[in-house]
Assembly symmetry: C2
């Protein structure tokens, strides 16, 4: 008996519309479902990326326990090393600044940006954790 | 060019030691690396679960941009449907309360608990997102 993987990853944003545009248009994620003012859920390979408005989810409504955080969260998405130049181009063309770029001593690279809510978003190669590169897009 | 999956999922906790014990002993995650007072990183299948002390990561030190959140974050881990009874047993024996249990209309089940920092932790079957069950443990 073991946990297989992380299935749902959450970040919080007061302005869901601005963030939805960022994750959909700039990062190319696919919206799975949404409830205006409460959440936007994205499918991302075999994981789910969930964006919540904490003002809504901190209220106890329905069977799901309340949650909600404030501040700058962090998420990293797996990308292919060979596609990093294309990601740099896309970010530049979208007007999204690269806040930092790190080449890790153990191998692999990370680009750091901010979503419109100020969360720290990383595009990185799984090799930084000694995990395999994603298959071809 | 596309994002393959979420690679790093983060939660925040002021008391890393208490949380480390919870994720390691109760949930069975494997510690990958840690820096006392700053972070504990867990490997979880082909994803990474990162626990940070926001008091440390909100400081800008080194090349990685600062981040850090306060409040009750949320994470969901993928488990096998057939193993849910064993998970209930382990939680009971570990003295961890199940805050809620949800059977989803579209199929699948979730158990909700709290980590020592108050984060909402879900053990769930990937079928709730129409994703495949994990392979045998």
């Amino acid at each position: 008996m073991r946990i297989a993987r992380v299935l749902e990853t959450c970040l919080y944003a007061d302005d869901l519309a601005a963030c939805t545009d960022f994750y959909e248009r700039v990062l190319g994620l696919e919206v799975y479902s949404q409830v205006a003012g409460r959440h936007v859920f994205f499918r991302c390979g075999d994981t789910m990326f969930l964006l919540f408005n904490p003002a809504a989810t901190q209220q106890a409504t329905g069977p799901v326990p309340p949650h909600g955080a404030h501040g700058q969260g962090h998420v990293a998405f797996a990308v292919r090393q060979v596609e990093l130049p294309q990601w740099r181009d896309r970010l530049q063309h979208s007007g999204v600044a690269i806040e930092a770029e790190v080449t890790w001593p153990s191998g692999g690279q990370s680009l750091y940006l901010r979503d419109p809510a100020g969360n720290s978003v990383e595009l990185t190669t799984p090799g930084i954790w000694k995990l395999a590169e994603p298959a071809d897009s």
